[in-house]
């Protein structure tokens, strides 16, 4: 014990001494190079434009607002990427297990190609190889004269919402709540009366009623804004910038390959006997999947799936290679080159990712504790 304490003290002293030395070096280097320190720059005028902002932004806004915009852009591409990667990954994982040899092999080839090629290469392929090679707006590919695909991005029609659109939003929320309530009611009815109860028909009635009510309250406060070619570019509609499309596409396709493997091994981990026992009890295949196989597979799937979600979020930082304005690109790229305060800027960037990661692992641990099997499962 005594020796352990000495050893620990030594390690601690060494680490602290190292830190002090590094900080001292940083201070003298900064002084010599006349670089400011501190976070004062966050309230200064940024003075550069950003080509995708989810909240209002002008060049006169501060670097602090730039951080928020970068973070929102990171979250946007990550959340959509997670959504698409999950959909595609689950489909591929199930296809991989299909009894149909051909579809299983197609899924396998997809997985082996996409996960063995660097993500950055895939991002650059979609951006420089495909999207930037599209025709200019004047020769844009048009989908029904409403959506246009060109090297400036994808322009889609947009619903301009006027006053009163809020009522429709409330209607949507009420519909979602109604759906959850109807499903719970159906399950309860199933358990108390034995008979299955309809969900979809009452839901349809509810939807009609809610939107009817919204229309009475607010009329139709929407106008369709269809993009049109004016001069060299499009006016109207909403433009999805090619940087975003390339990043989203590459992140989704790449991560889907990993998710597919996780799903496959998760489903495989459920003992064959579980399906046989379900079948022997007379449960139809679909119910056996829903009640027996999937709940067990999910416990195996969810922890590695979460770490894939985290990977996708961290990988979205490759945005900097194609100048999609994510947090790394606007902070460690543009802001750093303007302000020069490397220590603070890299620190802020890292802390943002670190908090995302730590929060996710904390949530994951909570989930694992809650879901742990009671005792040893056979």
């Amino acid at each position: 014990m005594h020796r352990d304490a000495v050893l620990q003290a030594l390690v601690l002293v060494a680490v602290v001494a190292g830190m002090v030395w590094l900080v001292g070096n940083v201070q003298s280097n900064l002084e010599r190079q006349n670089i400011n320190s501190g976070f004062g720059f966050l309230s200064e005028r940024a003075g550069f434009g950003i080509n995708q902002t989810l909240i209002d932004y002008t060049e006169d806004d501060s670097f602090g607002r730039v951080v928020v915009i970068g973070l929102l852009n990171t979250l946007l591409v990550s959340i959509l990427g997670i959504l698409f990667a999950t959909l595609l990954g689950f489909s591929l994982g199930v296809a991989r297990l299909s009894r149909n040899w051909l579809i299983s092999k197609i899924a396998m080839v997809y997985i082996e190609i996409f996960r063995n090629v660097p993500l950055l290469l895939q991002i650059m392929f979609w951006y420089f190889g495909v999207l930037r090679n599209l025709p200019s707006p004047r020769q844009a590919l048009s989908v029904g004269d409403a959506m246009f695909i060109s090297n400036r991005g994808i322009v889609v029609p947009w619903l301009e919402a006027g006053a009163g659109a809020m009522w429709y939003g409330l209607g949507l929320l009420a519909l979602a709540a109604g759906f959850i309530w109807l499903r719970r009611r159906a399950l309860n009815a199933k358990l108390t009366s034995g008979q299955p109860t309809q969900v979809w028909r009452p839901l349809l009635v509810l939807a009609l009623a809610l939107f009817g009510a919204a229309a009475v309250m607010a009329g139709v406060p929407f106008a369709l804004d269809v993009p049109q070619l004016k001069g060299f570019n499009f006016r109207g509609g909403v433009t999805v910038i090619p940087e975003f499309v390339a990043l989203l596409l590459a992140l989704s396709l790449y991560t889907a390959a990993f998710i597919a493997e996780i799903v496959r091994s998760g489903i495989n981990s459920v003992n064959k006997g579980q399906r046989e026992a379900s079948a022997a009890l007379g449960l139809p295949e679909s119910l056996a999947l829903r009640l027996v196989v999937i709940p067990q597979a999910l416990r195996v799937i969810i922890p590695p799936l979460t770490s894939q979600y985290l990977n996708l979020t961290k990988n979205s930082s490759l945005a900097v290679a194609i100048a999609y304005p994510d947090i790394v690109s606007v902070l460690a790229g543009t802001t750093l080159s303007q302000v020069g305060q490397a220590v603070e800027i890299i620190f802020v960037t890292m802390m943002i990712y670190l908090s995302l990661s730590l929060f996710t692992s904390w949530a994951m641990n909570r989930y694992n504790q809650r879901m742990a099997f009671v005792g040893n499962a056979t």
Binding site: L191, T192, E276, G282, L283, L287, L291, V292
Partner: protein, 246 residues
């Protein structure tokens, strides 16, 4: 003899190119108890797994309660819910409590209410002598208890026929008896039973007929008394001498 509830005629099955069941003919009357024995790989498990179509045969016919089991069968699930099965490895659902294991199929297949299903489940758990374990998870139970839950789970569907696929082979010796006792009681209540097992004591006690299989065919079948005291074939004799010697 009443109409047989199971009628197998000239049934053949292959695994790939391997001829695993050869020209099987067997009829089982309602309430009859059949014990099937034989060396491992003789096809006995495959035979009873064909009866609820966990395995598919390629030639011949199998009829269960007058319904022929073939590819075009629409109501396979209803046949399966009338034929209970108990597996060597229990195959309980580890993510559900004992009670949920037992009520799952009555609720979702027989459309019973939760209350009815639970009452039924508790009744059968009582019968297999573990009424107090209803809220535990399978992982918390001993092997013998798990297998009794598996029997109760099958009984909750009120099956007409019960299939047992080596129900005691995965158990420690001291747990075999508690499972066999439950099976004996079940037999005394008049259940139709087909049981693959090496428990010859059980066969003597409850079986109406003992079937010996080897190399995918039925070598010999007889009443237990005659089967054990006067086997007709050298092969049967050899097998019995090996099984009964310990």
């Amino acid at each position: 003899m009443t109409d047989p509830v199971i009628r197998i005629s000239d049934m053949n099955k292959w695994f790939g190119t391997f001829h695993v069941l050869r020209d099987i003919n067997l009829q089982v009357a309602a309430g009859e108890k059949i014990v099937i024995c034989g060396p491992s790989g003789s096809g006995k498990s495959t035979l009873i797994r064909c009866l609820n179509r966990l395995e598919q045969h390629q030639e011949g016919t199998i009829e269960v309660e007058g319904v022929s089991l073939d590819g075009s069968l629409k109501n396979l699930e209803s046949i399966r819910s009338n034929v209970g099965m108990v597996f060597q490895q229990f195959n309980l659902f580890p993510h559900m409590s004992v009670l949920e294991n037992c009520t799952l199929a009555p609720i979702w297949v027989k459309q019973k209410t939760k209350q009815e299903a639970e009452a039924l489940a508790r009744q059968f758990l009582e019968r297999v002598r573990i009424p107090d374990q209803a809220d535990k998870y399978p992982g918390q139970l001993s092997g013998g208890q798990q297998q009794r839950v598996a029997i109760a789970r099958a009984l909750c569907m009120n099956p007409d026929i019960m299939l047992f696929d080596e129900p005691t082979s995965a158990l420690d010796p001291e747990m075999i008896k508690e499972v066999l006792d439950v099976m004996v009681e079940l037999a005394e209540d008049g259940m139709t039973m087909l049981c693959v097992t090496h428990e010859m004591g059980f066969a003597r006690q409850v079986a109406d007929r003992v079937i010996f299989m080897d190399e995918g065919e039925i070598v010999e079948e007889n009443e237990p008394e005659a089967f054990f005291s006067n086997p007709q074939n050298e092969r049967t004799k050899m097998f019995l001498s090996q099984v009964l010697s310990h």
